[in-house]
Symmetry: C2
Subunit: 347 residues, 2 copies
């Protein structure tokens, strides 16, 4: 591969001039510029990114930490992130942590601040401490989907009002006449989906019902988790007419459970999820869900991260850390009514 130096020789100028042409800095004579551009074309020169990174003290990549890119929600998000980065001339490195904090830490240690100038964190089960360390080393960190806008973490983040999402979902069921609604929460108790469940409780209370008294099950945030939880819930409470689920994947699982139990959705049982992943529109019946602005969140996260990178000085300069962590809130979730919900059959 030709180097900038070779280009310089061929064009009869010095490396500095070639560099200037490349980045439109330092006034360069039109004639020289042409000669340089020709030399570049003839040699097929392309800048060596690591060299540039070294000289500039900045890296051309951003890391996205996820527990597993194979989880259907993440790719949609990753795609949006990559699109946004591409526009900014940066590249995306995918870091699968497998939900293991150790793996996550290893990644952060290796690339944050060297190969990657900043880190985007999706629910990847990382130690908060490790993220703080990463920041202190000079690599900005942005949490991509904080669930409680009103209760900011100690890190910059993009927040989505998931409590509202839960509330909207519950309101939808209530408006269809459902009163006996089971809840399936795709996280641990007080876990990441707590805000969504809170929204459910709030909506129930507003309707004069004691949401907290409704049957609820906590389960892994997967199709299988939702399947198992729905089976259990429906067996224990055959009178339920609807299932509120804190995420689409478990909601999809719940629909399968209903199918296997011979319960018609939506005539006998309504099911609602949250997020609106691609699969939601493709399932039969198509899943009613509360859509979350995924693409917007991705774009905001990239924007925020790049801004932090700009203002934090070079990678080598430790971040002051004194700055108040920024919180960007996305636009609100909204209901997407499809075929998995209908009037309560006992209404």
């Amino acid at each position: 591969m030709p180097t900038l130096n070779e280009v310089a020789v061929r064009a009869g100028v010095t490396p500095a001039t070639v560099s200037n042409v490349l980045r439109n800095k330092g006034r360069v004579g039109e004639a020289t510029r042409q000669r340089v551009l020709e030399a570049i074309a003839e040699l097929g020169y392309r800048p060596h990114l690591p060299a540039r990174a070294l000289a500039e003290g900045r890296a051309p990549t951003i890391a996205l930490m996820v527990s597993s890119i194979a989880n259907p929600f993440y790719p949609e998000f990753a795609l949006a992130v990559e699109n946004a980065l591409q526009r900014k001339g940066r590249f995306l490195i995918i870091c699968n942590t497998a939900g293991d904090p150790q793996t996550g830490r290893a990644y952060l240690d290796q690339i944050a601040g060297t190969l990657s100038e900043g880190v985007l964190v999706m629910n990847a089960n990382l130690d908060f401490e490790d993220l703080r360390m990463t920041e202190l080393r000079g690599a900005p960190v942005v949490l991509c989907m904080w669930e409680r806008p009103a209760d900011p973490p100690g890190l910059p983040c993009v927040a989505v009002d998931f409590r509202l999402a839960g509330e909207l979902a519950a309101q939808h069921l209530l408006s269809l006449g459902h009163r006996r609604i089971g809840a399936i929460v795709g996280s641990k108790v007080y876990g990441i989906h707590a805000a969504r469940y809170d929204g459910f409780i709030d909506a129930m209370r507003a309707a004069g019902l004691d949401g907290a008294a409704s049957p609820v099950l906590y389960t892994p945030d997967t199709t299988q988790g939702g399947y198992a939880a729905a089976r259990e819930l429906l067996k224990a409470h055959p009178d339920l007419t609807a299932l509120f689920t804190t995420n689409d994947l478990p909601a999809l699982g719940a629909m399968q459970a209903a199918a296997d139990l011979g319960l018609d959705v939506p005539n006998r049982l309504s099911v609602i999820g949250i997020t609106d992943i691609q699969l939601a529109r493709e399932s039969r019946p198509a899943l009613t869900t509360v859509a979350v602005p995924t693409v917007e969140a991705a774009e905001l996260a990239v924007e925020l991260l790049l801004e932090l990178i700009e203002t934090s000085g070079t990678t080598r300069t430790a971040n002051a850390g004194a700055r108040v962590s920024r919180v960007c809130v996305t636009s609100s979730p909204y209901l997407v009514a499809r075929a998995s919900t209908g009037p309560a059959h006992d209404a």
Copy 2:
């Protein structure tokens, strides 16, 4: 961030020694090694990857070119790739081409041979010429899922016997007594799925049927494509008892179409796909399909690529290109019978 030099100073040695300790090269005295390790720990030193890359003339990342990471099959593959790379101390850069050769070329131009030492290509609609150029510039390229082991492309690749996959799928339907089988091909005529369709024809012929005369429709390789094709096929040929589909996504779409048309799967209509993506097991009814060794293919691709990188000298040395392109064949596809296929209803 502390540099190797600072570590050296603190440990009272020269940078070279620290470097040696870091990479276990050049014999270093035990006492010195300890001092150096302490200094590293105290300072929280971590090597600067771009600097290392520059000095070594090699890059720590590998690029994966895909048309869109959001296509449900790719993430599974990407995860396997990343896992394999992680073991080798390398990082994965995701390049979404959106099926646009220009975007692909731009990516290759920017990172192949500089940021990324090698390129993994999934069906990303790239110009073959661009890939050859990339190789010539010294960045090995591996095609990840070549469909015709018997007919190697001009590039190193991991091949999967997709003709056999098609044959197995058709044989399964035939063994269930199906005779009037519609085919849905998820690519253009003579496109990427041609080998799978060939396998179908072969199996039909072996059963004394003229497969080429069976109703066939070419459609985009998506759920929607399969949905539309199935509707059309089933309307034009209401007597079909089974649908052979060249990929899981369109097969899933076909099942939805059947559901919407009120055709029971598998009692009235059998549907089979190819690949065995995660969704296949999660659909209702669960999709019968011919599984392809995805993880194995990913591992072989990584292995092959790294081998090519090793043997191609440094990134800067142009690849001779004279070497015969290697072809690795994965183990064979195999049938995974689930609930979407059953005996022909007219048998």
